[in-house]
């Protein structure tokens, strides 16, 4: 059953000038739904194509089921690949597209027909088997592409931004459908996407990539609750960032001095006294109270903007030291506040992350590319 191991793999383009994949190592477990998440140009698609065998690594080794596959062509790797543009053969109808894999492997007509029918029924498109790709909607084409990739009998499914070209609503439905199919058939799946919501919703584990490197690997919860890099804290979910210095470190955590000599206590003790740091805290972790109150670990501020977003209300708060934070609260959770209202923003010490101030500057670090 396919598990995939990538060991120190690198890939360069343009005569070595562009490093698409930079010394990446990964272990994807058997029957895992694994996502490669990152902004455009981070190397996730290149890595996927390396695993598929469509391109060869410049350095490093790739193992599928403990077998070294560096020199094995794609048709012999036992994979299924779903392309972003579906790549349905325009000169064949749905049936011929879906049965292409079995036919090309000479499985015999009866076997091909059985698998073809099974797969099409799984994606609920059996009635459209005579249609040509041009006659189908985006969502339908994608389902045919998935059926086609699966009907060749592969146990490792690779998906390259499969939902990128679809409408928002269809995207939401299809992503769960794909996960369900993969789990029902007990496949291993590697899914490339730039949409962190999508990755978190359907993955067992996620690898966040940027500029050819892997920044962090973990379950969606781990990445969300314990980001280990500023970029991850910003890319997965949303964060507020505040710059400051560590004033002191004690038993109950550290005290960080922010702009305007405001102080906040955090649980994190990993940074030394005097270090320049960046605090990160999620909008939903900040607590908001009406009026200016004297509460521990809280800063005073004024609401600058209110935005209604359906399930959440989003408040932009200008703090007393001119820093700005975003606080979100569930719409139905309590009283709604108004613009220009005075508020008190609380920083729960256990939910505030502390990062070293990045050498390239905060703005550079947050940039996607």
């Amino acid at each position: 059953m396919p598990e995939v191991r990538v060991e120190n793999v690198s890939k360069k383009f343009g005569n070595g000038k562009i490093v698409a994949v930079d010394n990446v190592s990964l272990h994807i477990k058997n029957k895992e739904y694994f996502s490669l998440l990152g902004p455009s140009g981070c190397g996730k698609t290149t890595l996927l194509r390396l695993i598929a065998g469509l391109i060869k690594p410049d350095e490093g080794n790739i193992y599928i089921d403990e077998k070294l596959v560096n020199d094995v062509p794609p048709e012999d790797r036992g994979i299924g690949f779903v392309f972003q543009t579906y790549a349905l053969f325009p000169h064949m109808d749905v049936w011929d597209n879906v049965t292409y894999g079995p036919r090309v492997k000479a499985w015999g007509t009866e076997q091909s027909n059985k698998i073809g029918r099974e797969m099409l029924e799984m994606v609920r498109l059996y009635e459209r088997l005579k249609a040509f790709p041009q006659e189908l909607s985006g969502g339908m084409m994608q389902r045919v592409a998935v059926a086609r990739a699966l009907s060749a009998g592969a146990k490792l499914l690779l998906l390259d931004e499969p939902l990128g070209a679809l409408d928002a609503k269809i995207r939401l439905e299809l992503r769960y459908e794909i996960r369900r199919l993969v789990k029902d058939l007990e496949l291993t799946a590697i899914h490339v996407t730039h949409d962190q919501g999508e990755a978190m919703a359907i993955s067992d584990r996620i690898a966040v990539m940027r500029k050819g490197k892997i920044l962090q690997v973990g379950t969606p919860q781990e990445l969300y609750m314990n980001p280990r890099e500023i970029f991850v804290a910003n890319f997965v979910g949303e964060s507020n960032f505040l710059e400051g210095y560590v004033e002191s470190v004690g038993d109950k955590g550290s005290v960080v001095e922010l702009r305007g000599k405001l102080r906040v206590r955090v649980l994190d003790k990993s940074k030394g006294s005097g270090e320049r740091v960046v605090l990160a805290i999620r909008p939903e972790a900040l607590e908001l109270e009406k009026g200016h109150k004297k509460i521990e670990n809280a800063l005073l501020g004024r609401i600058e903007r209110v935005r209604f977003e359906g399930t959440m209300i989003r408040y932009e708060v200008r703090l007393e030291n001119e820093d700005s934070v975003v606080v979100t609260r569930p719409t139905l959770a309590g009283e709604w506040l108004n613009v220009d209202e005075k508020v008190t923003v609380s920083f729960p010490p256990d939910k505030t992350f502390v990062f070293m101030y990045p050498s390239r500057g905060l703005r550079e670090e947050l940039l996607a590319e």
Binding site: L54, E75, G80, F83, F89, V104, A106, A149
Partner: protein, 567 residues
């Protein structure tokens, strides 16, 4: 009419008031261009010229001499001779085009997909048989395959004597680059993702190419077949050199003229060639898309083995060897006598214009003179036509009809076109030969320019035009500042294509004039012996023509450089 009077009146005032400065002229043209009447007039003039000079004369020419066709049915031996020539033309064209596709496709694949630095060189080499004037090609092949001095000298006798086999070899050679060029372009444009999808589904490369790539590239296969077919049907000069006593359509017409057999056989063969060509093209264009390539059956083990690296190497080697031995080497062979002639006294004789060389230089001058006039005319009249077709200014249906009609001179054998034109114009006794010659060349080369320009204009997004017009540009300014700059490469390329085609044209010239001799016609006479010339003379005469063609083409390459080559 009123639409014109206004600006014309202003124009008179302008002319009276200021110098005819460039800006004044441009402003005038600009002002006129926004009047619909002026635009209709421009397009109409273009269309009228097209019909009056290019399309109608050949059709009427044949119709006027229709009854003379009966002459041929009264003479059974002549009739069978004519029919044999017609069958030969189509048989050879079909056979050669098929073989060209089969032989050229692997080379196109190798060039498009390969990763060697030498591929650009190979790509250029492949073009040579297409670039060379066909008379040079004909003589070169004649020398190589049949006369002593060529490869035959190794065997002591003629390996391939003039006749149908040599014609087939010749036609194979000059249509080969067409297939390779079209298919390389198609392969480079092709989205590789389909082949990748096929491979991830388990198909070895050969199966993937056969079942997926080839089917998607089918339109290009069909159009390259059609182009090869058209060239084979139409070519006259080189075929005359290598035909010996064998006759295909163009050879028969040329012989019939020389033997003074009267107009009957000429009308008959011309008509049949034109009509059947037309039908064949209509059929291929209509049925081509429906042609089903075998994609259902797979032979996994065989194809997997055939996809192997070693097999690919042997296949590529074989393809290159065939290309080198059958296409390239015979093509370049004429260089030998040419160089030999340069280093003997012949070069001096040539430059001093003694003997046959005097006529030679006159012919060369005539060829280039005619080509220049033809290019100028086609550019001026062809531009409005191209805009009309590309932007559908005459309405959807009429524009499409014009689009198809413009192609007619392309698919019709040029000698047949020339013959039918001469039938038409012979009714007007006062038309001098040089005018006839120019008309004939205009007809044959017009489609090249219009096709090139129309495609180029179509590639310009309508957004650009709309943006320009919203910003205030009148039609003429739009044309001058947006369309022309963006299509200048195609304009230049189209004009040069017209020029070289006109210089090269033999068949129509033979059909239309008797006393005037263009360079290729003269060279055919030299080679066939109707005008005595030594081997050195022939080699040198052809050599000059080749060198001049290469100069012209070098100019074209430099102008178009960087546009399409992305190997």
């Amino acid at each position: 009419m009123e639409g014109l009077i206004g600006p014309l009146r202003d124009c008179r005032v302008n002319l009276g008031r200021m110098n005819l400065s460039r800006s004044g002229l441009l402003k005038f043209l600009d002002g006129i261009s926004s009047k619909p009447t002026a635009r209709y007039l421009t397009y109409s003039i273009s269309v009228v010229f097209f019909f009056a000079l290019i399309l109608i004369p050949p059709i009427l020419g044949i119709l006027l001499k229709w009854d003379q066709m009966g002459q041929i049915f009264n003479d059974p031996s002549l009739e069978s001779r004519a029919l044999a020539a017609i069958y030969a033309s189509f048989g050879i064209a079909l056979f050669v085009s098929l073989v060209d596709v089969v032989a050229g496709l692997p080379l196109a694949w190798f060039i498009a997909r390969g990763r060697s630095r030498w591929l650009t060189a190979l790509d250029t080499l492949v073009d040579i048989p297409f670039i060379l004037p066909t008379v040079a090609l004909g003589y070169s092949l004649l020398l190589f395959w049949s006369q002593p001095g060529g490869i035959s000298s190794l065997f002591g006798w003629s390996l391939v004597s003039p006749g149908w086999l040599l014609i087939i070899l010749l036609h194979f050679v000059f249509s080969y680059p067409i297939i390779v060029r079209v298919m390389v372009g198609a392969l480079l444009d092709y989205q590789i993702v389909f082949e990748e999808a096929s491979r991830t589904l388990g198909a070895p490369p050969l199966t993937a190419d056969r079942t997926v790539t080839l089917s998607i590239l089918k339109p290009s296969l069909v159009s390259s077949f059609i182009l090869a077919f058209a060239r084979s049907i139409s070519e006259t000069g080189a075929t005359l050199m290598v035909a010996g006593t064998f006759e295909n359509g163009p050879v028969f017409i040329s012989n019939a003229r020389a033997e003074n057999l009267g107009d009957g056989p000429l009308v008959f063969v011309s008509f049949v060639l034109i009509a059947v060509s037309f039908m064949i093209f209509a059929v291929i264009t209509a049925l081509g898309p429906r042609l089903k390539l075998p994609t259902k059956r797979v032979w996994p083990s065989i194809e997997r083995r055939l996809s192997g690296f070693n097999v690919a190497i042997s296949r590529n080697t074989l393809t290159i060897v065939i290309f080198a031995l059958v296409v390239l080497l015979p093509t370049l062979f004429v260089a030998f006598p040419a160089f030999y002639a340069v280093f003997s006294g012949t070069l001096l004789q040539a430059f001093s214009g003694t003997g046959i060389w005097q006529v030679y230089w006159h012919s060369l001058l005539l060829s280039y003179f005619v080509a220049a006039i033809v290019t100028l005319f086609n550019t001026l009249v062809g531009l409005p036509m191209a805009v009309l077709i590309a932007r559908r200014r005459a309405g959807a249906l009429p524009s499409t009809v014009l689009d198809v009609l413009v192609n007619v001179p392309l698919i019709v054998p040029s000698i047949a076109l020339g013959a039918s034109m001469s039938f038409f114009w012979s009714n007007f006794a006062f038309v001098p030969e040089i005018v006839l010659l120019v008309f004939a060349h205009i007809s044959i080369t017009f489609p090249y320019f219009v096709r090139a320009m129309a495609s180029a204009i179509q590639r310009i997004s309508m957004d650009l035009e709309e943006a320009s017009r919203i910003l205030g540009a009148r039609p003429f300014t739009l044309f001058r500042t947006i369309i022309l700059p963006l299509t200048k490469y195609s304009l230049f390329a189209g004009a040069l294509l017209v020029f070289t085609r006109s210089v090269d044209e033999t068949g129509a010239t033979l059909a239309v004039v008797t006393t005037l001799k263009t360079a290729p016609v003269l060279l055919v006479a030299w080679v066939k012996g109707t005008v005595p010339a030594t081997a050195l003379d022939k080699g040198l005469g052809i050599g000059f023509l080749v060198v001049l063609s290469f100069v012209v083409l070098l100019v074209l390459r430099l102008a178009v450089r960087g546009k399409e080559r992305r190997l």
